[in-house]
């Protein structure tokens, strides 16, 4: 028996000044179905889903939910119609507690007036149970839990509104592989409860694992819809990109030179202990480990924004630590943050401003500096990273998620740092863009620079890294190099098994 259609969008369009982001799309989702929405960066996936979530009051076309025509002109209306949205960029407010966050806008009241704390905690616990977070204390502030947990809290929050349709816009871009499995378990569970789920992701493997149906979008238009069983990897890529993409990772020929940087006995108690490694010229060194292994913490301590209890960095004949990012950059170290929205980009400024921000110091002459004089650098970077649309004056928050990530990458490539620490450099970018970024990274290394790669994307590590050190619970437990870096060897080592663990 065919399942009931939960959501039907007919000929839906949405225009931004200068862009037709969604162009006459028909889209259907059935109950108890996981429907994957695929497409390149800027294809219009997020925009289509934002229409559904009631963020725009100027879309055209018709949306039917359970067969009724709805006008989803405000987020409130969308919620009332049972649309729950988990945004691409986490919308979890940072400093408030989990319980307030989960029940925002509908905190339980006592005697119709006072906030009923007990009841709130009970409801919060119940919601957390549903996403397998029963062990969390709902009174903790969000800033103290991990990104994965925050993502799951976000799902719990949406579940609390009793939705019929749940949209997840790249929910796994911040998760490690076992966290993804955790999420999938929850998704399967929701599916059994007959919810309709729209799932956006750039990871093909995930799609083939979890989705029932796939819709492909390109340039704002719907290209095709088919059941997962009727398609293949190649077919899907072909439909998304509009041409076949063959080789995924460029052939890697590395020229490893002398040691350029040495991290000695780095320790921050409780986070990482006695971490030492060397980085050579022309080398891409991956630091691998499960989420929570302490990768980001090490990076943040290297550049001096987080405290450090012991250890030094030797670079360019100087031994010591850096007291802040300014000093780190002066010493030739750049750090691409994992969270582009909160600490990577100035979203409400232009692409040009964002690309130039770290080199204002260098470009200024006697305190004078005019961004207009440096348009060439910006254009070069836009071209190198294929940022689309290629407009230096466009505000960054008017770019699709993947293109924002490219701007972030461009900003660090524009500095002349000779060591770049890349924390999840391809979060949320499509296959083509990933190749562009990878090419840029390899090109950068080839010029004799060093790259420290922190990535949860195993194929990425396998494709890029010359050497991988394994971090487990804050300790270095092994090292894998060259040809021996494979997805399975990395996974095993990260879990403390296999021959690469010392």
């Amino acid at each position: 028996m065919e399942k009931k259609i939960a959501l039907q969008m007919k000929n839906v369009s949405k225009r931004f000044p200068g862009t037709l982001a969604v162009d006459g799309v028909d889209f259907e989702v059935r109950e108890g179905e996981v429907h994957a929405l695929m497409g390149e960066n800027g294809a219009g996936k997020s925009t289509l889903m934002k229409i559904l979530a009631g963020l725009f009051n100027d879309y055209t076309g018709e949306i039917y939910i359970d067969g009724n025509l709805c006008r989803l002109h405000t987020p409130m209306l969308a919620k009332e119609h049972g649309v729950g949205m988990i945004y691409q960029e986490l919308s979890v407010a940072r400093r408030i507690s989990i319980v307030e966050n989960l029940l925002v806008g509908r905190l339980p009241k006592k005697n119709g007036l006072f906030y009923d704390k007990k009841e709130a905690i009970r409801q919060a616990k119940e919601l957390l149970e549903r996403v397998g977070l029963g062990y969390l204390d709902p009174n903790k502030p969000i800033s103290e839990i991990s990104q994965c947990e925050a993502q799951l809290v976000e799902i719990a929050k949406v579940l609390g509104t009793n939705p019929k349709i749940i949209v997840m816009d790249e929910p796994t871009s911040a998760l490690s592989s076992e966290e993804v499995q955790r999420l999938f378990k929850i998704i399967r569970n929701l599916k059994e409860q007959n919810l309709a789920i729209v799932y956006i992701s750039h990871h093909l493997a995930e799609i083939f694992e979890i989705a029932d149906t796939i819709t492909v979008m390109r340039d704002g238009k719907k290209i095709k819809t088919y059941p997962v069983s009727e398609t293949t990897n190649e077919q899907l890529i072909h439909d998304m990109v509009g041409k076949s993409v063959k080789e995924f990772y460029a052939d890697r020929e590395s020229h490893i030179g002398e040691t350029m940087m040495e991290v000695k006995d780095f320790t921050r108690w409780g986070f990482f202990h006695h971490v030492s490694f060397e980085l050579h010229r022309g080398e891409v060194l991956a630091i691998c480990g499960l989420a929570g292994a302490g990768r980001t913490e090490i990076a943040r301590s290297i550049i001096g924004v987080d405290p450090l209890d012991a250890g030094t960095i030797v670079k360019d004949g100087r031994e010591g630590t850096y007291k802040d990012m300014t000093m780190a950059i002066k010493n030739g170290i750049g750090y691409l943050t994992e969270d582009r929205k909160v600490m990577g980009l100035a979203l409400t400024q232009s692409v040009a401003d964002n690309i130039l921000v770290s080199i204002i110091d260098k470009l200024s002459r006697g305190g004078l500096y005019n961004p207009k004089n440096h348009g060439k650098i910006v254009e070069e970077k836009i071209e190198e990273l294929e940022i689309y649309p290629p407009q230096p004056n466009r505000l960054v928050n008017a770019l699709s998620g993947g293109n924002q990530q490219k701007v972030l990458m461009a900003k660090w490539l524009a500095t002349d740092a000779d060591v770049l620490i890349l924390d999840e450099p391809t979060r949320g970018v499509d296959i083509g863009a990933k190749q562009t970024i990878h090419k840029a990274v390899l090109e950068y290394a080839k010029r004799g620079n060093g790259v420290i790669l922190l990535s949860s994307d195993l194929p990425e590590v396998v494709g890029l890294a010359d050497r991988a050190i394994i971090l487990r619970e804050g300790y270095i437990t092994g090292e894998i190099s060259g040809e021996e870096i494979t997805e399975s060897s990395l996974l095993m080592a990260a879990n403390g098994e296999g021959k690469h663990v010392s």
Binding site: N11, S13, R15, F16, P17, K50, L55, D58, T60, G61, P75, S91, I303, V305, D324, M325, T326, A328, I329, K330, Y335, T337, V342, M343, G344, L345, A346, L347, T348, Q349, D353, L356, V357, S358, I360, D361, S364, G367, L368, Y369, N370, P371, N397, K411
Partner: protein, 347 residues
Amino acid sequence: MTKVNENTTAAKSDSRKTEINKALVFFDKAGVWILVVCLMAIGFIINPSDYFSVGNIRSILQAISLTGMCCAGLAYIVYSSNMNDMSLPMTIAISGMVSIQLVPFGIVVCIFGGLLTGTLVGIINGFMIGKLRANPIIWTLAFNMVLSGIARVAWGGSQIYPDVVAGGNEAALATAETFNQLARTYFFGGSVSLMMVVMVVMFIISYFIMTHTKFGNQLKIVGTNYETARLSGLNVVRIITLSYIICSFCASVCGLFYASMRKIGSYDNGMGYDFSCLTAVLLGGMTLLGGKGSMVGVFGGVLAVGMLNNVMTLIGISTFNQYLVTGIVFLLIVWLNTKSARKLGRA
């Protein structure tokens, strides 16, 4: 057939919406200047005979020059997303008092003493907020109280007058006279005052700093996203400190002219400037979130506030009611500001 029809109507209404968006964008950019033109029109309708007379235009410009000087500095604070400098009133007051106190030492010492006092306030604010990350509103509010306490103790709670401070000394009396003339110096047969010139020059310099210097461009990123700025290697402490120093310096320039105009150094010089200046700056298109707006807009904001007051005076609204109107304008602006902030936060 009907299907085709539907499609074309859909397309039509779609393009119409886009145009509305364009109009919005235009309004966003030119907003305050539209307001200025409207107020001009209203003023002309109310008083067609001499609204555009030299006398009225001069009185508008004269009235805005003091606020203007302050706004040229406060803009940096708002732009850096530290919202407001609540210590503006006492910075104005105390720099005026110090310079009057220094009248016996000659006009140069007197002016520099006043400016230095203001700058010192800025350094302290900058250190507390830039370096120690004190809450900008709470700190400047508290510091305003402290300054007013210091002033009361130092001058025994009384006002001071340039000629009284000068005493019987001939030279000092001449200096006092020069000081009092600061706010009464006119060029071009009385049509342009020194105050106006100073204000306009301050705006031009501020415009240049904001757009053509390293500091201004870095401040933009700091104001938009502090964390991003810090992790991009900007020296956020220095940038914020500098913006407070500039702000207080501008306030002390205003303080000098204020004292000279009233011929009095007093605690209530500059009273209410914290909010009236913020109103003008926000009206000029800067937002409480920081990183948005320009000096050109802020100048428009100052002009608009001045013209609003002028129109109210022309209509004959009493001073107290004028406070009410400005207060309501302020609330309206803050409301609009938070509304757009919420939009930015989500979409």
